[in-house]
């Protein structure tokens, strides 16, 4: 709270004029964050039918938000369980919607290609891959969100032994950079 006060130029007690408690403020930030990510994902998925491409869109969408708001995401990851009381359930509901959306993407892929893998493990592994970047991402070394999403999408979809990385004949999602 004192950090926010200093960074914003508003006095400590001034903050409490707008937010009744630290927990309430964290709740508002979380709600805004997850709602924004989920809304943007839905928009981007519209009109895209190919299951692989839809998963790549999911990866880029999630990754992009995490890279743009890297420090904020770090705080949110650490403060994840700070919402002890009632409002927490609303956040949990949004997260569950997001999770189920991703499970749906996996099920679509399985149906389209006749695959059989554990959707939960796949989704949680994918979340881990992406969420962990706040501990290691460096723009100079690791490239843009598009490049990283491309590489992570390759690993997740075809694995490291596919041997197609950086070569021809590969769909990419660079056209998504011109978004609304």
């Amino acid at each position: 709270m004192r950090d926010l006060s200093r960074a914003s130029g508003v006095s400590l007690s001034g903050l409490y004029y707008y937010f009744e408690s630290k927990e309430r403020l964290l709740y508002l930030i979380q709600k805004h964050t997850f709602t924004t990510i989920l809304d943007k994902l839905k928009t981007r998925l519209e009109g895209v039918a190919d299951p692989e491409q839809r998963i790549r869109i999911f990866i880029l969408n999630h990754l992009e938000y995490f890279l743009v708001n890297q420090q904020g995401m770090k705080v949110l990851s650490h403060e994840d369980e700070a919402l002890k009381n009632g409002p927490s359930s609303e956040i949990a509901a949004i997260k569950r919607t997001y999770y189920r959306t991703c499970i749906g993407l996996m099920d679509d892929l399985k149906r389209a290609q006749g695959l059989d893998f554990n959707s939960r493990t796949a989704v949680m592994s994918l979340f881990g891959m992406i969420n962990w970047i706040y501990t290691w991402y460096s723009p100079r070394v690791d490239g843009s969100a598009q490049e990283l999403a491309q590489r992570m999408g390759d690993i997740f979809l075809t694995g490291v032994t596919a041997g197609s990385s950086g070569l021809k004949h590969r769909k990419d999602i660079s056209d998504l950079s011109s978004r609304p």
Copy 2:
């Protein structure tokens, strides 16, 4: 510190008789943890030549330790940057050794199979997949470390579109369960 005092039965000041500060204690825990994981990994890798199998061993080794010490790993992940001063560099060195070992596994795989992918992205993605489990793992739902390592290894090596999950002709690492 007061939590540790209560849980261990040692008085608060008694703890400071053995550990000069909270930061020092955290340093010792981190050192013990990463040294243990790295030593165990080296032992398990001995005598295994196949690059894919070596990566699967790495995944199982890391995953197993994280699941056995799940609560501890949660604390370590959150307290990751709490080591502000000098001793931090020794921990960083151990981590770097661990990281480079994993990079080596990737390079071996690339050499053996003539692949070309970004080792850093692959390793960091793999770390993310595994380290993230402390946020979602449930023994009843997600099975043993062996089962999870198998599924994560499948995803990382061949991707979700490989279609080989749960079928025949697939090497596994269940024999590793009888370890020293």
